[in-house]
């Protein structure tokens, strides 16, 4: 059997199967979509995409397909080239598995929505754009996918567009992503002008790459993956429905920035400046997000900040020159983060729209499956040994501890790991345990297979994915093999310290002590004062500058005052002064005559 043919054909068949619900209704009026057809389409694509992954695991076969070439200008051709290597072959089944589960869940979650089919089409369109991004070998195709996921994110966040907060959040997402797009376009322009190509194969330079395109790529990743500085859009994006948060803002879209850095990694590996920048930026992001998550009360915001923190951890891994480990963390993180969001969606619907964890409690007896899976997800997030998160997170922290790098970044990451344990445990304790604080008449019901099977499927993935992926994939760089015992168990010790701290703090909440405000809790609650400072300051300066330059300087000054109107006002002033002299009396004229005679007399003297 011709394995390369099977590999390529089945990958393209996956993409083609996903596009059928979009194309077929355009061709005929009888073929209308329903949520169940779209869910089944994604399930079929998932099953088809398992075969190329199996071929890769069996014979380590990668493939590079190049179709029709766009002759952009002479000497610069852009082929449609798709790269089926370890990253795309492994990410396709994972993304499709998670999307299938989310779509199945969404058919229950959005059942009361009149435009549910449009919702599903949007999610499908997003998925196609994301997969195009993953499989692209060419920065041009990647850019198409990049913009596609950005636009679908905008449309999906503002799904309930009657709500002003949702519109603001969607606008925020688009504006921040646009800033990152500038970075990506900068890199593309630099590559086109100096290397005359946009292919990923041709941009691996053995010598030290100039820093400018790398800075552009880091800017693009900062915006798309919500690193510190361009991060406010991710917590605000929780205004969208829970399936949107689960698919876009936890598993797939936000990892696009990290994925871009993984794809262009050969350029990074020889530039220590860019690597250090990634490291420090990632460490700062992970600590900042973990600090903000400590005092949030909205269940979706806590999970959003934990996503942001894990994205910072992925950026740290890129900064350590370990792209494969970052990809492993992306894959395992997709499972448990999507599951956490689906569990929170089930809880929110069961409590009739309640999202505040201070009004939940004791749900373990009322929603047994959901809360068990929530516990599994939280344990995986914390990096509990041998669940999915452990294989990637512990490996990252081991590599951090044993490599020669910035100590500040290391300390920040360890502190963020312990904070992860703190807010995760806080979430679990407040939502599941203790006495219940929900209103008496809540429609608590999880007895729907559309709810239970996605969540349990993802729970199975959260437990086994790390083990399966690390068993079947050979690492490209040798992991650190020996280290002192204290270094080896650093991650677990730090997590255990976080758990102990959280348990102590939760005991304090049950004693009637007045909570005091101090600067740290204020910093955490207001998300680091970042949003008001940057939004108002930047916008005010921009608008003031714009008004000064465009309106005051050009319109009013140049065109009016120094031009016609100024001339007119000067003339008016002069003529008003001169009018008093024109009296029309002969005496004045004769006086002028006498003056001229006297001047003549004086001048000839």
């Amino acid at each position: 059997m011709d394995l390369p043919l099977v590999l390529n054909t089945l990958m393209l068949l996956t993409l083609a199967t996903l596009s059928t619900p979009i194309i077929l209704p355009l061709l005929s009026d009888n073929l209308k979509n329903t949520p169940s057809t779209i869910t089944n389409t994604v399930k079929t694509s998932f099953l088809i995409s398992l075969i190329p992954m199996t071929i890769y695991i069996h014979s380590n076969m990668e493939s590079l397909t190049s179709m029709w070439e766009w002759n952009f200008i002479t000497n610069f051709k852009i082929p449609i080239s798709l790269k089926m290597d370890f990253y795309s072959l492994t990410f396709f089944p994972i993304a499709l598995f998670v999307s299938w589960s989310i779509l199945q869940f969404a058919s229950w979650y959005m059942a009361s929505d009149p435009h549910i089919t449009k919702f599903f089409s949007y999610l499908l369109f997003f998925l196609i754009a994301m997969l195009i991004l993953i499989v692209a070998n060419n920065l041009f195709i990647l850019f198409i996918g990049w913009e596609g996921v950005g636009i679908m994110s905008f449309l999906l966040i503002s799904w309930w567009h009657g709500r002003a907060d949702a519109n603001t959040a969607a606008l925020q997402a688009v504006l921040y992503n646009r800033v990152g797009d500038v970075g990506l376009i900068l890199c593309m322009a630099w590559l086109a002008s100096s290397l005359n190509t946009w292919e990923i194969q041709q941009i691996a330079s053995p010598a030290q790459a100039p820093t400018l395109p790398l800075l552009g790529l880091i800017l693009a990743a900062t915006a798309k993956s919500a690193q510190f500085g361009l991060h406010p859009w991710l917590p605000a994006a929780m205004e969208g429905p829970t399936p949107v948060s689960a698919l876009l803002h936890s598993s797939t879209m936000v990892v696009a920035g990290i994925f871009l850095l993984i794809r262009t990694h050969p350029m990074f590996s020889s530039n220590p400046t860019a690597l250090t920048l990634c490291l420090c930026l990632g460490a700062l992001s992970t600590l900042f997000a973990a600090t903000c998550a400590l005092t949030q009360n909205d269940i979706k915001k806590i999970i959003a900040f934990s996503t942001s923190s894990q994205l910072g951890l992925m950026m740290v891994t890129i900064g350590l020159n370990l792209p494969q480990l970052a990809f492993l963390h992306i894959s395992t993180h997709a499972f448990f983060k999507a599951m956490l969001f689906l569990c929170s969606g089930s809880i929110i619907h069961s409590l009739n729209g309640e999202q505040d964890i201070r009004k939940m409690g004791g749900l373990q007896k009322m929603l047994p499956t959901t809360t068990s899976c929530l516990t599994i997800g939280n344990l995986a997030l914390m990096g509990t040994p041998f669940l999915a998160g452990f294989y990637s997170k512990d490996a990252i922290i081991e590599n951090l501890n044993t490599s020669y790098l910035n100590t500040w970044a290391l300390l920040l990451t360890l502190l963020a790991t312990s904070f992860t344990a703190v807010y995760t445990l806080r979430l679990t304790l407040l939502v599941q345990t203790g006495f219940t604080r929900i209103p008496p008449l809540s429609p608590v019901n999880e007895n729907n297979p559309a709810v239970l099977s996605p969540i349990t499927r993802l729970a199975l993935g959260s437990i086994t994915a790390g083990f399966l992926i690390t068993s079947f994939i050979l690492p490209t760089k040798t992991p650190p093999t020996t280290m002192p015992l204290s270094i080896k168990i650093t991650a677990i010790i730090v997590t255990a310290l976080g758990i102990a701290l959280a348990l102590e703090l939760s005991k304090m909440t049950q004693a009637l002590i007045l909570p005091k405000q101090n600067s740290f809790s204020n910093f955490s609650t207001t998300l680091g004062y970042f949003n008001p400072l940057t939004h108002r300051f930047t916008i005010t300066n921009l608008l003031n500058g714009g008004q000064n330059i465009a309106s005051h300087l050009i319109d009013l000054s140049w065109y009016k005052m120094l031009g016609p109107e100024g001339l007119a006002s000067l003339q008016l002033m002069v003529s008003k002064t001169m009018t008093t002299l024109h009296t029309g009396q002969i005496k004045a004229y004769l006086g002028a005559f006498a003056l001229s005679i006297l001047i003549m007399l004086v001048s000839t003297y």
Binding site: T583, G584, Q585, I586, K587, L590, A594, I597, L601
Partner: protein
């Protein structure tokens, strides 16, 4: 300057100032105008004698002719104003006064 030049120069200046400062009657202005013309005539007569260019001797004759016309025009204005206003006071010429 020589006393000859001083004579017609001072006549000219004094009559111009007189034209400017006699503000009651039109006839005093006309008289001063006549003395201006007279001083110009004298200056123009002395000039070809001083520079010995005999071809310029026609100039005083021309000035005389023009001054006669001008005096006639001035007197006609005087008569017209006396006929309309009853006197030749200069404050009657006030059509252009704003």
């Amino acid at each position: 300057m020589s006393s000859l030049h001083l004579s017609f120069y001072s006549a000219f200046v004094l009559s111009s100032l007189g034209l400017a400062f006699h503000r009651t009657h039109l006839i005093s202005a006309l008289l001063c105008l006549e003395s201006i013309i007279l001083s110009i005539y004298v200056a123009l007569t002395i000039w070809p004698i001083q520079t010995q260019t005999s071809s310029s001797t026609i100039l005083p004759i021309l000035i005389l002719a023009f001054s006669a016309c001008e005096a006639g025009a001035g007197l006609a204005l005087l008569v017209a104003s006396t006929r309309t206003h009853g006197s030749d006071h200069l404050h009657n010429f006030n059509l252009l006064q704003c």
